[in-house]
């Protein structure tokens, strides 16, 4: 999967309105091609990779900690909270600049996710589908408030770039914040076993001497920060956090140590693939990536649901299991 990602990454650098070929790039030295390359194409690629890795890992963490396969940044009110934070910064402190905006988005998305998880844990739903439904409702309420205030203060246009995810505006100098996803994902990898243990339940964590609440809050904070950084730079991109971890778990199980890298790679691959499609279908114009992700994502999600309906909880085995055991 890594190799495939590398190949498509390199190829994607040469997809765009202006044709660039390698020989021109190498020979011309400081020509326009090189500038486009350094200022637009490479930043765009890096932003895509960070988004894919970040959002899928954020989804993985949230699913584990909430013990629910349908929870993700888009169904756990995280994205909407981040947008609400951005709105507050646009309306009340317009001169705050990028960093201030980011901090507000961080704060609100962390807070929103905490409230959601606290609520879900308080109520203790027996039905797993209710949890994401509550998240979606909560997110929609927040979204409604955001839209209302945005209309009132006439910032809907400004805000719309944060609603529909798109990589078309990424250029060197304005996107570096998404790199934050990388250290956060590394932290997530270090704490992977803790997240797994907490995902097994409160009693299970206590038995192994793991502080349940602390790890829960830490994990949700990481997931919310990754999401907020992506939303502030790229905009809303749904589905990745929901489907990518589910697809990987279908093949590899839920042990985060074993699945985190695959989840990250597949997430990056998925976003990159969608972006290439978004750039190519109506050349020289491009579609917002959110559109492509939405179409492909929902199809994949439906396919996955149908698979689960037909096969129950059975995992897909890549290697053949030992004979005569339950895995057959």
């Amino acid at each position: 999967m890594g190799t495939l990602l590398l190949i498509i990454s390199i190829w994607s650098l040469f997809v765009g309105v202006i044709d660039i070929d390698i020989s021109a790039l190498l020979s011309s030295g400081e020509g326009m091609e090189l500038k486009i390359f350094l200022f637009s194409r490479i930043p765009r690629l890096l932003a895509i990779l960070c988004t894919g890795v970040g959002m899928s890992v954020a989804g993985l963490i949230m699913q584990q900690l909430c013990m629910n396969k349908f929870v993700s940044p888009s169904t756990g009110a995280t994205i909407q909270s981040a947008q609400f934070g951005i709105l507050l910064s646009l309306v009340f402190v317009p001169g705050i600049g990028l960093w201030g905006r980011v901090l507000l988005a961080f704060g609100l998305s962390i807070l929103g996710t905490w409230i959601f998880v606290w609520f879900v844990q308080k109520i203790q739903f027996k039905n797993t589908v209710l949890v994401p439904l509550i998240g979606i409702m909560f997110g929609n309420v927040l979204g409604g408030i955001t839209s209302f205030i945005a209309y009132k203060f006439e910032v809907t246009q400004q805000l719309s770039t944060y609603f529909v995810g798109s990589f078309s505006l990424i250029i060197k100098g304005n996107y570096e914040l998404v790199w934050l996803a990388v250290p956060l994902v590394i932290i997530a990898f270090i704490f992977a076993n803790y997240f797994n243990i907490v995902g097994m339940g409160k009693d299970f964590s206590q038995n192994l001497g793991v502080n349940y609440k602390l790890v829960l809050f830490l994990g949700l904070t990481i997931a919310a920060m990754i999401t907020a950084s992506v939303v502030t730079i790229v905009g809303q991109i749904s589905y990745i956090g929901l489907i990518i971890p589910n697809i990987v778990a279908l093949f590899k199980g839920d042990k985060i140590r074993g699945t985190l890298i695959d989840t990250a790679l597949l997430g990056a691959l998925f976003v990159l693939g969608c972006d290439v499609i978004a750039r190519s279908v109506i050349m020289p114009y491009e579609l917002p990536i959110e559109l492509i992700v939405g179409i492909i994502g929902s199809l994949l999600f439906i396919a996955m649901l149908i698979y689960k309906l037909n096969h129950g909880k059975k995992a897909i085995r890549l290697r053949k299991a030992k004979e005569g055991t339950c895995c057959e």
């Binding site: 097994m200 206590q206 793991v210 042990k255 030992k322 895995c327």
Partner: protein, 250 residues
């Protein structure tokens, strides 16, 4: 381990009322009693899953509340029925978590040997790479016990380990409990609904009624006509099988 004057209230109702007893080392102790007697609450307080209102639990000459979670996890293991059973972990991955208090993220060679031994002890070798959510209830319970064995603790607390198991698996589970004590020298404390499992497989029985200890003693002292009738308000007949008192009720 000594428990002194344990109390717990829920919404103003006393569910555990000044409970004191001593847990005999290297023996199997069962907590029995009717529904709502406070068995699981007492167990929860011993394992620190539930905060106690008052009272002290002495554990190895130290107040249990003062133990560090990680250190306690090497001495005392608790298994309840509230685990997430949808998690796709393989049996081996689950058992490996038993070593978490010792090695954290990195498993040493010694840890892997312990894991192998625990899996072999519970005869789970052929299921080692199976996901626990695809196993039967009995197999899954064995996998959890294997994890507790890998955790290598002196004390093992089991909250209703026979719950949701059929007779075959439940009696197997109880035999395993006996082996944990006899072969591995562990002190096992159980919460049980089935009086006869308690009677047949444990050394001591603690009967709770309405949050108070009705009777604490050896199996013979508790499992007899008079005491049981007093606890459960039902007539019992006692028959002896293999020298152990078993109750018959209808």
């Amino acid at each position: 381990m000594t428990i002194v004057d344990l109390n717990k209230k829920y919404d103003g109702k006393k569910v555990v009322n000044s409970v004191s007893f001593e847990i005999p080392k290297g023996k199997v102790l069962s907590l029995i009693g009717p529904n709502g007697a406070g068995k699981s609450t007492v167990m929860g307080m011993i394992s620190r899953l539930i905060a106690k209102d008052s009272g002290v639990i002495h554990f190895e000459d130290k107040d249990l509340a003062k133990w560090k979670s990680k250190e306690l996890a090497k001495k005392l293991a608790i298994l309840t029925q509230h685990n997430n059973i949808q998690m796709k972990l393989t049996v081996r991955e689950l058992v490996a978590f038993g070593r978490f208090p010792y090695s954290g993220n990195r498993l040493t060679k010694e840890d892997n040997e312990m894991i192998d031994k625990a899996i072999a002890y519970m005869e789970l070798q052929e299921y080692e790479d199976c996901f626990i959510d695809e196993l039967s209830g009995g197999q899954r319970q064995r996998a959890y016990i294997a994890m507790v064995i890998a955790q290598d603790t002196e004390y093992v607390l089991l909250d209703e380990p026979t719950n949701n198991l059929d007779i075959y698996h439940a009696s197997n589970m109880m035999r395993t409990v006996r082996r944990l004590c006899d072969e591995l020298g562990k002190t096992v404390i159980l919460v049980l609904h089935e009086i006869n499992y308690a009677a047949f497989y444990s050394d001591y029985v603690c009967a709770l009624v309405n949050g108070k200890i009705a009777k604490f003693g050896t199996v013979e002292e508790v499992i007899n006509k008079e005491t049981l009738a007093e606890i459960y308000k039902v007539d019992f007949e006692i028959i002896y099988v293999d020298g152990k008192p078993l109750s018959v009720f209808y």
